[in-house]
């Protein structure tokens, strides 16, 4: 597995990861999140876990499971951390606590024994209170844009997060007032996953044909869950504004459902209604494992959109950039870290802004190519899983040995 990545990321990158791991060999690491499929967190863990295992770190992946009330509650937490002002019902919070208590008992042997426990997002955040004498380091990894959380819900959640040894946020703007170290680690994509590997033109054409998309006409695509924060209805509006000037334009809005997202169906029906059976708008609900289809749709597009109004990091942006596509993205969250205005795409605030940039790029095919090439190199340098893994390993060293004020730590050699 490691050799495969040498080809894409470079042998020096892999050798560096090996050297950094050596002092950590044999350490036991557990990741806990809320789903094995659907959503960016599961995608990262699906590769990060075997990667760490191959490096000699005893790594496990556990999942918290709950009923519909539990996921309604955690979806509410997700939305309110991203800024929705909506209290969560007391009875749902009790379900949240009970589910965490039950999961803590189920996972007790593996969590008690771990040297490092990475707890992802709010769903399993309350596990730690059931391990008052934990021996390992516990890290809360927040993947959400929590820059403007709805305070009552954050206050509730904060009491579970405060006792952690550290937390990790994707951007400095998301970090919160907490009494422990807050690391800043952007997420990453796996260049060798089905969703990102190079595809033959024939496969791209086949997928495009399957969905009734005309390969001869210009195509814009937004791939993301059917979630109001991704503004799919705004994308349809941008498409209609741009089509006045580019009549042959087609739009694909494609996304999968995630098993921890009960709102997806409602938003999908809003999007279908907004599309008004327009034959040039393709609204596709894809199964969670439709990775090759997503890959092909991104490669078939001229431009990729991610017009989010709130965004944690926006891995679909990274994926599109890796396929040498310029991205027109919402001027929010991690999209800002990736889309360099006028270089790798455009940052926009409104459907009107998105429409203007769609028209601009479709009239300048050379710019599409130039921006796409820059986008791919930017991802290669900064947002591949190898970089992500290196930062997790660095964090483990840092937690193991460092005090906050020490800028440099030397590991793996005698003092």
């Amino acid at each position: 597995m490691l050799q495969d990545y040498e080809r894409v990321a470079g042998p020096d990158v892999i050798e560096q990861v090996r050297q950094l791991t050596r002092p950590l060999e044999g350490a036991k690491v557990v990741h806990v999140n809320s789903t094995r499929s659907g959503g960016g967190v599961a995608e990262i863990l699906r590769k990060l876990v075997p990667f760490m295992q191959e490096l000699g770190i005893d790594t496990h992946w556990e999942v918290i499971t709950g009923d519909s009330d539990f996921f309604e509650c955690t979806k509410g937490m997700h939305n309110t951390l991203q800024g929705n002002r909506m209290p969560i019902a007391e009875n749902l919070l009790r379900v949240y606590e009970e589910t965490n208590a039950r999961t803590a008992e189920q996972l007790r042997p593996v969590l008690e024994d771990a040297d490092f426990v990475f707890v992802h997002d709010p769903q399993p955040a309350a596990l730690l209170e059931h391990f008052p004498d934990h021996k390992g380091k516990w890290v809360w990894r927040c993947h959400i844009d929590a820059s403007h959380p709805y305070r009552p819900v954050w206050k509730y959640l904060r009491r579970f997060v405060t006792p952690y040894d550290a937390s990790v946020f994707s951007l400095a703007a998301f970090a919160q007032e907490l009494p422990h170290r807050q690391y800043l680690i952007p997420p990453s994509i796996d260049p060798l996953a089905d969703k990102n590997v190079d595809l033959d033109r024939a496969i791209v054409d086949e997928v495009v044909g399957e969905y009734g998309i005309d390969p001869e006409r210009p195509l814009i695509v937004q791939i993301s869950r059917f979630d109001r924060f991704k503004d799919p209805v705004g994308v349809i509006r941008a498409f209609r504004l741009a089509r006045r000037f580019v009549p042959s334009l087609q739009l694909v809005l494609a996304g999968g459902g995630a098993s921890d997202d009960p709102e997806g169906e409602i938003v999908l029906s809003e999007v279908t209604a907004a599309a008004e059976q327009d034959p040039s708008i393709h609204v596709l609900l894809l199964p969670a494992d439709a990775n090759r289809e997503v890959n092909a749709l991104q490669r078939a597009s001229d431009i990729v959109l991610q017009k989010s109004v709130r965004e944690g990091f926006g891995l679909t942006v990274t994926e599109a950039m890796w396929k040498s596509r310029p991205v027109i993205g919402g001027d929010v969250g991690g999209i800002r870290l990736q889309v360099k205005n006028h270089h790798t795409g455009f940052l926009v605030n409104t459907p009107e802004g998105a429409a203007l940039r769609i028209r601009y790029l479709l009239h300048q095919p050379d710019r599409i190519e130039e921006m796409g090439a820059k986008a791919k190199e930017f991802v290669r340098e900064n947002f591949l899983i190898t970089r992500h893994l290196r930062e997790y390993l660095t964090l483990m060293h840092s937690l193991d040995h460092g005090r906050h004020e020490e800028m440099r730590l030397v590991v793996g050699e005698e003092a």
């Binding site: 690391y183 800028m407 440099r408 590991v411």
Partner: protein, 230 residues
């Protein structure tokens, strides 16, 4: 494990050069500036590690190839505050020329004050983006590669990781007594024998372009000097 404290000397005592590598992880400080005045206030008391990060450590962070300024403060003043004059003055600061980070901090504060005296509207200018103060920790590890003669440097430098280049050529300037890079420090231990290479390395400006570009420039410089010697 040991820690290298500010200013500790790590110059090679023998003629063997131990190639090290490093990895950086960024940390939030929780402090931010929403105006130039707030920037000044935070800068006055922010931990020195944050000044280090925004001048040096940031080189190991995601950034776009076309670097306009060599430190994050100058970049924010230009694109957040929209004051080109102060941005240019901040960009002219060469961090290695200061005895320590405290002296650098004082110089930045002086530049900000001077500029506010010149253009007091900057006191209430609302920036288009806030400045987030970040700091970082660097984990240093041994690659187990040893160079026994300066000639090996030319051969090896192009194969070093970009973070190894960062550690030896940029970070070193905060660690060595003369604020110079580790390669030059090592070459000096060989006396005048490698004066040409020392001078060539002194002419490499590490603050623009990517670390990969810096690596390739160093490789070219080392090779050219050795070919000249041959």
């Amino acid at each position: 494990m040991r820690t290298e404290t500010e200013g500790a000397a790590t110059a090679p005592q023998t003629e063997v050069f131990r190639v090290k590598d490093c990895a950086l992880v960024a940390l939030a400080t929780g402090r931010k500036a929403r105006s130039l005045q707030e920037f000044r206030e935070v800068l006055r008391s922010i931990e020195a590690g944050s000044i280090y990060h925004h001048f040096w450590g940031g080189l190991l962070q995601p950034r776009f190839e076309e670097r306009e300024f060599n430190n994050d403060f100058a970049s924010w003043v230009r694109h957040g505050i929209h004051d080109a004059v102060l941005a240019e003055r901040l960009a002219a600061l060469h961090p290695a020329r200061f005895v320590d980070l405290e002296e650098l901090r004082t110089e930045i504060l002086d530049l900000v004050d001077d500029r506010i005296d010149e253009a007091d509207h900057l006191l209430w200018t609302r920036p288009t983006e806030q400045f987030e103060f970040i700091c970082s920790q660097i984990v240093v590890f041994d690659t187990e590669i040893r160079l026994r003669h300066p000639r090996e440097l030319a051969e090896h430098v192009s194969r070093m990781s970009t973070s190894s280049i960062f550690y030896h050529f940029i970070d070193a300037r905060r660690r060595t007594p003369d604020h110079q890079d580790d390669f030059s420090d090592w070459l000096q231990a060989w006396g005048d024998e490698h004066r040409a290479l020392l001078e060539a390395l002194a002419g490499v400006d590490p603050y623009f372009g990517s670390l990969a570009e810096l690596r390739s420039e160093l490789a070219t410089v080392c090779e050219a000097v050795h070919e000249g010697e041959d």
